[in-house]
Amino acid sequence: MDQAQVEAILAMFPIFQDLSPEELGEFSRIAQPVSFMPGQFICARGEIGDCMYVVHSGKAQVVVAGPDGERVPVGSIGQGEVFGELSLVDQQPRSADVVAETQVQGFKIASADFADMRGRLHPAAYKVLLRIARTLCVRLRDVNTQTFGKVIARPGAKPADEARTFWQNVTGWIGKS
């Protein structure tokens, strides 16, 4: 795949929407093609997130550990979606497994390469960072709403629903947008 093709693919993702063609070129140079077979782990819970993934084709399942350690699927990630983008700003352990359901193809952007662009005060990095910061804002509003909606609930109220909301929220740490 040549660089122009990579740029054309990246251009379709909202996270790169604010970039000029030249800036997109910067990202196409650091984007590493990745491919996963069905059943293969794209990332595993507990490992430090050191990159963001953009999914060009295929479908993957997001799985968290439930309260008793059981595997709980909490969603799927498909074509045109991005995940792990918070890893570009905060290297935390992944909160969920992401497992390829079909063959998955896409790109990964390493946190180190992004940090390098940021270090050079490259506008492309900051335009993407603004998108990520807005994602953080959405999450924070969401978590606060959940917390302050919850504190007025009494013990025993809809425990199953509440627990699921919590685990879904935790999934946010893999950074699915």
Binding site: L136, C137, R141, F148, V151, I152
Partner: protein
């Protein structure tokens, strides 16, 4: 000039601004407007459109939300060096909380217009402000997630049929209902010290 010197000394004392060069800091100071608040004075109201964010220079402010029941809950407190209002500044949505001065306070306000202008011009100071906002957001989200996690754990324990009115569980729930509330925000980087959140 005197005012600007005062602001410079202050910002230099805040961890979050340590990566800024003197030039960048000077540009930030040019864009900042000092505002004094009396005790109980409102800086901004939940639901309002946002046009600024602020950093606390002196005093203490609190963020509160009114719940559906009408009860007012404290979400966070902001002390010297604490950054507030950056969420609405960045995402353009209405304010999520009301910010009130708990004691007489002084804040430095940055308008959304100035931030956006700097950002669009590719000014390093605006980029570094975004670095700061991002760090603050990451820290707040981590703390808020931990708080929600505590709450979910308490709820699961409370809902466990083996311990239905377990006094210990009831008491834990009581604690969380009453004290999980507030996140403390200062200019000191708690996360860098390995502290994920601090309760008052």
């Amino acid at each position: 000039m005197f005012k600007s010197k005062k602001h410079q000394t202050f910002l230099r004392s805040v961890d979050l601004f340590k990566d800024m060069s003197d030039d960048e800091l000077e540009q930030v100071i040019d864009a900042l407007k000092e505002r004094k608040l009396k005790q109980n004075e409102v800086l901004f109201n939940a639901g309002e459109a946002s046009d600024s964010c602020a950093i606390v220079m002196e005093g203490r402010l609190k963020a509160t939300v009114a719940q559906a029941s009408g009860r007012v809950r404290e979400l966070a407190v902001f002390e010297t060096g604490g950054v507030l209002g950056q969420i609405a500044l960045l995402d353009g949505q209405p304010r999520s909380a009301t910010i009130t001065a708990a004691v007489p306070s002084t804040v430095l306000e940055l308008s959304r217009k100035d931030f956006e202008k700097g950002f669009q011009n590719g000014s390093p100071y605006a980029y570094k402000l975004l670095d700061i906002f991002t760090r603050v957001l990451v820290r707040q989200l981590r703390t808020a997630n931990a708080r929600l996690g505590d709450l979910a754990t308490a709820e699961q324990r409370a809902a466990n049929p083996r311990h239905p009115g377990d006094p210990e569980v009831q008491s834990l729930f009581h604690d969380i209902n009453n004290e999980v509330g507030s996140i403390r925000n200062t200019g000191i980087d708690l996360s860098a010290m390995g502290v994920s959140g601090r309760r008052r």
